[in-house]
């Protein structure tokens, strides 16, 4: 693996008596998306704040593009874009003025800032609203402007702290698409979210964080196959048929534990959806063919519940 673009090593941070980070470590390879997934108060924002140089760790070390976020903070800032939980745009500036200001403060010339601002406004579908004050924007537009403001100086690394919290579904999907486009162009992204589906949709790697510690790491598929179980549901023409199928499976070799409800039986598979072939072979040897087959993939909710013992916030709820 090429050397990581973002690396956190045993980060610790306390605010008074409250431990926000308790030895958090992870690495983000170039051009990938790491999803930091956890409930409110799990330490996600603290971690992003340290990596984006606005908070000092108590202990541990973190680097971005090989630069130490404490010792080399000024150089780190030249390589990162940051969009926080609140759309940090100036309500009394227009969309274009907001971006041009951030461009100038990111060391672009006046002309570069203006050109780049217009590019980003176009890229985020805000050209029509470019000359309007940001206070007249909808929540989704403000959030898009906020993410655009993180990109003025084309940073190779982007930090997004709960980028879609509080957004409606349509705005959320549009922002996801923008993030995917950035990643295609080579941007490395660290994304925090309390939405499982968001981590599932965007992240190459997911770090599940709880009480300031990483409780597990993996790709969305790995996490699901490790902790979730695939459930097959077979429907039959009649209850006797369903019963015969259930008996066949129960007597097979103890691997299957079928449960019958009416004309349907459900079977948990220990080895993913690949187990379906074996199930069907066993059933059809002794019973009529099923008339319906459904495969329920595990969700990250299952993973999260298994690892932390509680459910994350529901989608749509604001932080």
């Amino acid at each position: 693996m090429s050397s990581p673009v973002i690396e956190a090593a045993s980060l610790r941070k306390s605010f008074g008596q409250v431990t926000a980070l308790d030895g958090l470590s992870f690495q983000v390879p170039p051009g990938s998306v790491l999803g930091l997934l956890g409930p409110n108060g799990s330490g996600k924002t603290t971690a992003v704040s340290i990596l984006s140089t606005t908070l000092l760790p108590d202990a541990g070390r973190a680097t971005v593009c090989g630069l130490d976020v404490v010792a080399d903070a000024p150089h780190v800032r030249a390589s990162i874009g940051f969009a926080g939980q609140f759309a940090a745009v100036d309500p009394n500036l227009t969309g274009r003025e907001n971006l041009a200001l951030i461009g100038r403060l990111s060391r672009l010339t006046r002309k570069q800032a203006r050109i780049r601002a217009d590019e980003l406004l176009a890229g985020f579908g805000l050209t029509g609203a470019a000359a309007r004050l940001a206070r007249t924007y909808s929540g989704g537009m403000r959030r898009r402007l906020d993410v655009a403001a993180a990109l003025l100086h084309r940073p190779p690394v982007l930090f997004l702290d709960e980028p879609t919290t509080g957004l409606d579904l349509e705005s959320r999907l549009a922002l996801w698409e923008s993030i995917r486009a950035l990643v295609r162009d080579g941007t490395t992204v660290l994304l925090t979210t309390q939405y499982l589906e968001e981590a599932d949709a965007l992240a190459d790697q997911i770090v599940i964080i709880d009480s300031g510690r990483a409780v597990d790491v993996g790709t969305p598929a790995q996490l699901k196959s490790r902790f979730g179980t695939v459930v097959f549901t077979l429907g039959f023409g009649s209850e006797p048929d369903a019963t015969r199928a259930a008996v066949a499976l129960a007597e097979a070799d103890g691997r299957y534990l079928p449960e019958r409800a009416g004309t349907e039986i459900s079977i948990r598979s220990g080895n993913g959806s690949g187990g379906l072939t074996g199930v069907l072979r066993t059933v059809t040897a002794q019973a009529p063919d099923p008339v319906t087959i459904a495969v329920h993939e595990p969700t990250l909710d299952d993973v999260f519940l298994t690892l932390t013992g509680h459910m994350p916030a529901e989608g749509g709820q604001t932080a």
Partner: protein, 256 residues
């Protein structure tokens, strides 16, 4: 670009942003200008008749006090503006940018300086309209207004420090107003200190708004001015040094 040139450029950009914001939030401009005008009219026509200042017309006594009062209240704007930036998250964004850190604070106080200049010009015009005359000539008046602007700049650093600690603009305002009220109304801004009880005179004689009002009067109305001017400049320099350093420290410690 050198570090200093970059810091200057950042300060200019943040100043420009703050001035735009100021012009687009009319209530802030109204607070800065209409309120002092009301004070001029109230003290000139409602209270002024009851206030006797030996040896001078009350309106000539009043206007130096009004100048001090307007910029002292105006300085609270720095706290309101910064706390709004703190609450909106813009300050966090600024801190992730490769910009000069000082530009956030210097851009705020420089924008306030421009606003205070405008307020002082407006107040001078209003003063002349209600009968104020600078007996000591235009030179003395300009020198006095210079002192006012220097004091205003120093005061805005006090409220920069306040604004960085209070992430609620209303709270910043609520915190600032009583402090300024106390300084203005225990000074000789509106009434001579001699008319106050002794213990209050002792406080009133040794605080920056009073020093400024005394120095302005000496410059505008004539009389020995050197001592009062030095005391006022001393206050401004002291406030600037202490709160400039303190606000820079508070800003740096926001990372803790």
């Amino acid at each position: 670009m050198s570090t200093y040139a970059a810091a200057l450029s950042d300060t200019v950009n943040v100043t420009g942003r703050n001035l735009k914001t100021l012009f687009r939030t009319p209530q802030a401009l109204i607070f800065a200008t209409v309120q002092p005008v009301i004070f001029v009219l109230l003290f000139r026509y409602a209270f002024g008749g009851a206030i006797r200042v030996p040896g001078t017309n009350y309106v000539d006594y009043l206007m130096p006090g009004i100048f001090a009062q307007s910029v002292a209240f105006g300085a609270i704007g720095a706290a309101v503006g910064l706390s709004a930036d703190l609450r909106s998250g813009i300050l966090v964004r600024f801190r992730t940018l490769p910009m000069a850190r000082i530009a956030v604070l210097a851009g705020r106080t420089t924008a306030d300086l421009a606003r205070n200049l405008a307020v002082v010009v407006v107040m001078t015009g209003v003063g002349f309209a209600v009968g104020f005359r600078a007996a000591n000539g235009i030179g003395g008046l300009l020198a006095a207004l210079g002192l006012v602007v220097i004091f205003a700049y120093a005061m805005s650093w006090i409220f920069v420090t306040v604004g960085l600690r209070v992430s609620d603009p209303e709270a910043a305002q609520a915190l600032g107003v009583p402090i300024v009220f106390l300084l203005v109304f225990t000074s000789s801004a509106f009434v001579p200190l001699r008319s106050m009880p002794g213990w209050l005179q002792a406080f009133g004689a040794h605080q920056p708004v009073n020093a400024l009002a005394s120095a302005e009067r000496a410059l505008i109305l004539g009389g020995p001015a050197a001592h009062d001017v030095l005391v006022s400049l001393g206050w401004s320099a002291g406030i600037l040094l202490v709160f400039g350093a303190l606000s820079a420290r508070v800003y740096a410690r926001m990372s803790r």
